[in-house]
Symmetry: C2
Subunit: 347 residues, 2 copies
């Protein structure tokens, strides 16, 4: 059986089963495969949040629509976003590059320039890496480490995917669909670097401040949006054994996306990938203190977009302008003509 015949999720399930049997690991691994990041706790009051993310030229990034500095920025941003989605503080990262023949030194340095600016802004140390030859395409693999605090019982304090409960509100940071709208413009040949949508695609902001603040305000369920709301929310539903209701009228699509994409803005907001906003759920009673905490930190408020329900016939339910409740098919918007790989999951 070929890997592309069974798909990524079935393959990961088989790997997970093999590892559970043959390399169960030590008790210091507190959270393993299946969330945005793993948690490794070698000492009682010390936990490390670990995430890794790989990108391949032509599959995950294209140099006709961004430059090498953007590639470096985005590669680190995706990892920092995974730390943000756990509520962790950024610590360090290692960077592995596979370089195809003929690549220019200035391109490699531009990659690091884009990455370094973001690293410096979040006090993330670049601890090293590896550089190898790659025959056909540039590959980037980054592993990032973050720090988290602990609950009173000594368990790591973090945002997880398996803690959503029926009755929780569902909310997101920022706006949805801007990155996918920017990608659409770029694929159509627009390249204005000052365009807010193009910038949203090329330079997404990892929500490290928001993640940490939401965690301290009591939120315990969250992930980052890399595969789009309709692609990622089902992952929380599956791991928490719940379903989710989304009110399409509440989705925070930017006005400019609605203007420039009058026919597809809802799809972009629901299924557009790589917004790297945080998706969280929490009991309604927490909403007041969350709002206060965000305002006190001079951060934009969350947008409540739905609520968690007991498991049902569909993982996702949706209600649009017509007020009709109906099942929503899970999945991401298909930009490149194929289903984008799941970029947020550790295997």
């Amino acid at each position: 059986v070929r890997v592309d015949e069974i798909g990524e999720f079935a393959l990961i399930a088989q790997i997970e089963a093999l590892l559970a049997d043959e390399a169960p690991g030590s008790a210091s691994l507190r959270l393993g495969i299946g969330d945005d990041a793993a948690i490794y706790q070698p000492a009682p009051r010390h936990s490390l949040v670990i995430t890794t993310d790989a990108l391949v030229e032509g599959i995950h990034f294209r140099l006709d629509i961004m430059d090498w500095a953007d590639v470096g920025y985005r590669a680190l941003a995706a990892n920092l976003s995974d730390l943000a989605s756990m509520g962790a503080r950024a610590g360090a990262a290692v960077v592995t590059l596979g370089l195809r023949p003929g690549l220019l030194v200035e391109d490699v340095l531009a990659f690091y320039h884009g990455l370094a600016g973001l690293a410096a802004r979040y006090n993330c140390s670049i601890a090293g890496g590896d550089i190898v030859a790659s025959p056909a395409a540039v590959t980037v693999s980054i592993t990032a480490f973050g720090e988290c605090r602990h609950e009173r019982d000594g368990t790591p304090r973090c945002l997880r995917r398996d803690t959503a409960r029926a009755g929780d509100l569902i909310a997101v940071t920022g706006r949805l669909g801007a990155s996918a709208a920017g990608l659409s413009l770029l694929l159509a040949g627009r390249t204005d670097a000052a365009d807010a949508l193009i910038r949203a695609y090329r330079r997404p902001e990892p929500r490290l401040r928001e993640g940490s603040l939401l965690l301290e305000a009591g939120v315990r369920t969250g992930m980052d949006l890399s595969d789009g709301l309709a692609g990622d929310l089902p992952k929380i539903c599956a791991r928490s054994r719940v379903s989710a209701f989304i009110d399409g009228r509440a989705l925070p699509a930017p006005a400019i996306v609605k203007e420039r994409f009058p026919d597809t803005w809802l799809d972009l907001a629901l299924r557009g990938g790589e917004d790297f906003e945080l998706l969280v759920t929490f009991p309604p009673a927490l909403l007041g203190q969350i709002t206060t905490a965000l305002a006190a930190a001079d951060l934009p408020p969350l947008t409540v977009i739905g609520h968690v329900e007991p498991p049902g016939d569909s993982p996702l339910w949706f209600c649009g302008d017509d007020g009709q409740r109906r099942p929503l098919s899970p999945g991401a918007y298909d930009h490149f003509g194929h289903q984008p790989p799941d970029r947020g999951a550790t295997i």
Copy 2:
């Protein structure tokens, strides 16, 4: 300027300079680019040893001379060897795979099977990873984390490359040249899996027990041999600003290598890569307690192969059967018709 025109080391130096300027990182990074691994110390008595290593099909491994389980084993072994070379204990690892089209599920599972057996033996948790599509060749990128203790002043206790002093003895664990000899046999079409030399190439043992024990016995300078003695020892010389004298008559080449490779055994022992033995230097006064400690742990003794000298005209000096002292050119044995990339260094 193309990357292949300036070479890996010049590129890494430029990246290092860029990062020092644009992303200096936090004080919690205690040891960065330039050793076998980095040390990240987020809390006063807690340090994490971090290493990463990437492999590309056709460049770093070939499936005509090993199977997928060997590839998985070796990929993790190279990382655990980097932890061993710091004297660290294995903790956890994340595994990223780039899979080319048409790869079989059973091959991926065989890869993990080979890796899992080794991980379990050293209590290394597999904390996750990422799986992506790769257009032309399978790529493997592993990042491993280990634990180390601390000196009385709170600094991380580890084996480093920059602490060799003139007068130190130079010694290695195990034997030299067996892995390269096994590779020669495999490239000549021999495939007997029970052959000790072929096994040395396919299933090298990371020297985690030895590294930890040498550190506790007082050794502070060390690395692992991935690019061969003449390829790796100059790295210690460069970082410690010393030169090294090797006595060829003392090199521990296995008898079977001398028998089967009567003309090239010395080259295999001096320049054969991927033995993954430890190369250490230490003051002569430590030799007795090191020997006692290894014997008490039922481990083979070190072999002293030379000594450290003040910096001279050549980083390496050599004396063979003729008793003549002469400069030795640095560099690894060239199996695949090109200089193998440096696999032990963090960028």
